[in-house]
């Protein structure tokens, strides 16, 4: 089960969430692991952003004299079968993998949030149309839908992002819809309606603040899932295409073939993926503990 599904499965049907006081410091104190996760993520994001500076070599330059060199002073994490520096490729790959992960998480989160809000607030008729559509999309296992969509749309950066985001939308929408429905039933909102507050106003002032917490938690969960799904797609040959460097592709293309001769080809990209997903999971856990313990998994 994806992280996202797990979060969705545990969200209470009607949750009125109180906002927690305090900021980053309280967060760090309350959840040290979460703070560590956030810090790790920040490091990786910064490394990715500053890739041209942080990298030691040109990630695409092949060098026939330096193939399969083990990690050492000249090539910190070794080189691959074409003589390319692994460390530099990882750093540049961080950009792409993170960008794709964040884009998918945001698209899925925002898309799902919008759909969920509309479905929850716009009345019965809209809901009865949207609900089955969500069920249909959610019926496909995440990887399968992403696979078919990537095949359908062709391998490009854009299509991979869309293909991974789309399966997230129904899962997020479901949670947001549940919150919206719950909030709508409260007397507080009924009172607001009675004095004539319009639908949009209700949405903005009452529903939205309460959806922030589960939305944020789901989005961070999606980041990890997106990176993992992209890696699996690359492994199967349908992920982010050349020439973008991608951690998933570093693992699939040639790495397994040369793994016994040059284990660093398999170990480091895998560690990179695991580390980032691990950090985002830590951060997501901490965030959830901070925002509302009741959503805890």
């Amino acid at each position: 089960m994806s992280q996202v599904d797990a979060v969705a499965a545990s969200a209470p049907a009607a949750a009125l969430i109180r906002r927690r006081p305090g900021g980053a410091r309280v967060f760090a104190r309350r959840s040290p692991l979460g703070a560590i996760g956030a810090f790790l993520m920040l490091v990786v994001i910064l490394a990715g952003l500053a890739a041209p500076v942080v990298a030691t070599h040109d990630p695409t330059r092949t060098d026939a004299t330096q193939t399969f060199t083990p990690p050492g002073p000249r090539h910190w994490l070794g080189t691959d079968h074409l003589g390319r520096d692994i460390y530099s490729r990882l750093v540049h790959g961080a950009r792409v993998s993170l960008a794709v992960g964040i884009a998918c998480a945001l698209l899925g989160g925002l898309g799902g949030g919008a759909v969920g809000l509309v479905s929850g607030l716009a009345g019965r008729r809209v809901d009865t149309v949207v609900q089955p559509l969500l069920d249909i999309m959610q019926g496909f296992p995440l990887l399968v839908l992403a696979l078919v969509m990537t095949a359908a749309l062709g391998p490009s950066l854009g299509t991979v992002i869309v293909a991974i985001s789309v399966p997230f939308i129904p899962r997020v929408a479901r949670v947001v819809r549940a919150v919206a429905l719950g909030v709508r039933e409260t007397t507080y909102v009924e009172a607001a309606r009675a004095i004539g507050a319009g639908g949009a106003r209700v949405a903005l002032r009452h529903v939205l603040p309460n959806t922030v917490a589960p939305l944020v938690v789901m989005t961070t969960a999606q980041l990890g899932s997106a990176i993992l799904v992209e890696a699996s797609l690359s492994f199967l040959g349908l992920g982010i295409p050349e020439p973008y460097p991608s951690w998933g592709r570093m693992l699939s293309v040639s790495a397994t073939e040369f793994a016994q001769r040059a284990p660093w080809l398999v170990i480091f990209p895998g560690l990179a993926i695991s580390l980032v997903v691990f950090a985002s999971n830590l951060f997501g856990d901490g965030l959830r503990d901070y925002l509302d313990p009741r959503l805890r998994i």
Partner: protein
């Protein structure tokens, strides 16, 4: 009495002397019968129909079922006219000044379903391939129709005799008939059926094909070569994941590698992990090359094409992309691995083989003459399929082009779409591999370089080269022919018809208990396992 005893002693001594001093006798173990060979296979063959397909995944995996008229001797690694031996044909000869090829066929041979084999099957097979007028049956795919374009008619005066009547002499015909791609099909079975099952005359019968899992053969007890095969059966085990394949061979789950799977790192690693593993270096008869779209600017400009070929350092390619396990060469397998290809000394002076610095400088100059330079860089897109081999090739080429100021980017195309793009001419540069079914100029040139040929993806067309190809095809004098062929190869390289980056070498590995298998300098023609035996 005493004479006879003395004679006996002399004879015994002589025999003992011969036995003791003959290393061959002492060393060569005698073949054992029995056992099932577990052979590596990397993917499902597109179909089981050998004649209709053009990938080694079919030759390796289906060939044990069939026989040819003639084959390349399995124990000789270099395939040549001298290594051709009879399979279903006992004897053959050229008649009518090289315009008729007559075969005397073996008698008493039967198809796996019991039907007798006759010359009618041979006529049927080749009429099918050449799409002879009047043939009611048609192949769905027919990649090698060109091979038999010179056959005018096929006569069968009796059930054991076949005569191929040619429009003009073609010495290469025999070479192509010996290729793994030239099995004889049964006339009594529709070709469509042979896509999913196998009925041949070969040493093994197809027992089961489980798609995605294995292709299993059992010995043919009625095989026409008495005492063969040695093996009880063969299992081609399909493992899609490359790392897992190598690990399986290393762990002994597989006994023998698949041709074209032996990269240098894999071979070295296997040898290191299992010192007793037998690793033989052989050629594939497959070359890595670049497709240049002749019909699309700027490659319509010969200067740009030449600059492209000059910019790519072949030796660097071999070192960088193939870890040194490849040969520089032109359009035919280079000597001494092949028969016709230009060797190292003959290659000197061709684009990409000289001093890389001067050649790149020359490339930059040519590009400048063509109107490209630092202010107006040439932008090209190199298309490639998503497979590791192609991507590595394309990555290297792009890097080399960058060094002469060409702004090259990589475009990844899915397999399902790749081919359509190629045939539409919807590409600029493409990474490509070209396999050659038999080490012969006719097999290589007509398909890939003749004007208008279906597989001439670049749409290269040089009428003079076409004339030379036709001339060498019917040239009876071997020396004159060799000279023409060498000239054609030089021409193709200087024209930049399909810049050849290298000919890959195979580090073919098998366990020491596998005997009787000698890797050939071709991946296509040695998959019958008739004389292979196991000593465990």
């Amino acid at each position: 009495m005493r004479h006879r005893t003395a004679l006996r002693w002399i004879v015994c001594a002589a025999l003992a002397g011969i036995l003791a001093t003959s290393p061959a006798w002492a060393a060569a173990p005698s073949p054992k019968y029995g056992g099932v060979l577990n052979a590596m296979h990397r993917e499902d063959p597109p179909s089981l129909s050998l004649i209709e397909e053009a990938t080694v995944s079919v030759n390796w995996g289906v060939a044990p079922c069939y026989n040819n008229l003639v084959v390349f001797d399995p124990v000789k690694s270099q395939e040549s006219p001298q290594s051709i031996i009879g399979d279903l044909a006992e004897k053959w000869e050229w008649r009518d000044g090289g315009k008729t090829l007559a075969f005397a066929l073996r008698r008493g041979v039967h198809w796996h379903d019991g039907h007798p084999f006759t010359s009618a099957d041979v006529k049927y097979t080749f009429d099918l391939i050449r799409e002879a007028p009047g043939m009611s049956v048609k192949l769905r795919l027919n990649p090698r129709k060109l091979w038999y374009a010179q056959v005018q008619a096929i006569d069968t005066p009796d059930p054991s005799m076949v005569l191929f009547r040619l429009k003009r002499p073609q010495p290469s015909l025999l070479m192509m008939m010996a290729s793994g791609y030239s099995p004889i099909y049964p006339a009594h079975i529709p070709p469509a059926e042979l896509r999913t099952r196998c009925v041949g005359t070969g040493p093994f019968k197809l027992r089961e094909y489980r798609p995605g899992e294995l292709i299993e053969f059992v010995r043919n007890p009625d095989y026409f070569v008495k005492g063969r095969p040695y093996l009880d059966g063969i299992r081609f085990i399909i493992i899609k994941e490359r790392g897992t394949r190598i690990a399986a061979l290393q762990a002994g789950r597989l006994d023998i590698m698949m041709p074209q799977e032996g990269t240098k790192p894999a071979g070295e690693q296997l040898k290191q992990a299992v010192p007793s593993m037998i690793v033989t270096i052989a050629a594939h008869n497959i070359n890595d090359n670049i497709l240049v779209n002749f019909k699309r600017p700027p490659f319509t400009d010969v200067r740009v094409r030449r600059a492209l070929s000059l910019a790519i350092d072949r030796q660097a390619y071999i070192q960088a992309v193939r870890q040194g396990a490849a040969l520089a060469g032109a359009s035919l397998l280079p000597r001494p691995w092949g028969l016709w290809g230009l060797g190292p000394s003959a290659l000197a002076g061709l684009p990409g083989t000289g001093n890389p610095v001067t050649q790149k400088a020359e490339a930059r100059q040519l590009l400048a003459e063509a109107g490209f330079g630092p202010g107006k860089p040439l932008r090209v897109v190199m298309s490639t399929r998503a497979l590791a081999t192609y991507v590595d090739m394309a990555t290297f080429v792009i890097d080399q082009l960058k060094q002469v100021g060409v702004d090259a980017t990589l475009e990844q195309i899915e397999s399902a779409v790749w081919f359509a793009k190629l045939t539409r001419g919807d590409y600029q540069l493409g990474a490509n591999l070209t396999g050659i079914g038999a080490d012969d100029p006719d097999a290589a040139f007509y398909e890939n370089y003749a004007c208008g040929s279906q597989r001439n993806y670049s749409q290269y067309c040089n009428p003079e080269v076409d004339r030379m190809i036709d001339a060498q095809s019917q040239e009876p004098d071997p020396q004159k022919r060799a000279a023409t062929v060498a000239e054609i190869q030089r021409r193709l390289e200087t024209d930049g018809a399909r810049p050849i980056l290298g000919w890959d070498l195979d580090y073919f590995a098998m366990w020491p208990y596998v005997h009787g298998f000698v890797p050939h300098n071709s991946v296509y023609n040695n998959g019958r396992f008739q004389d292979v035996w196991l000593s465990k």
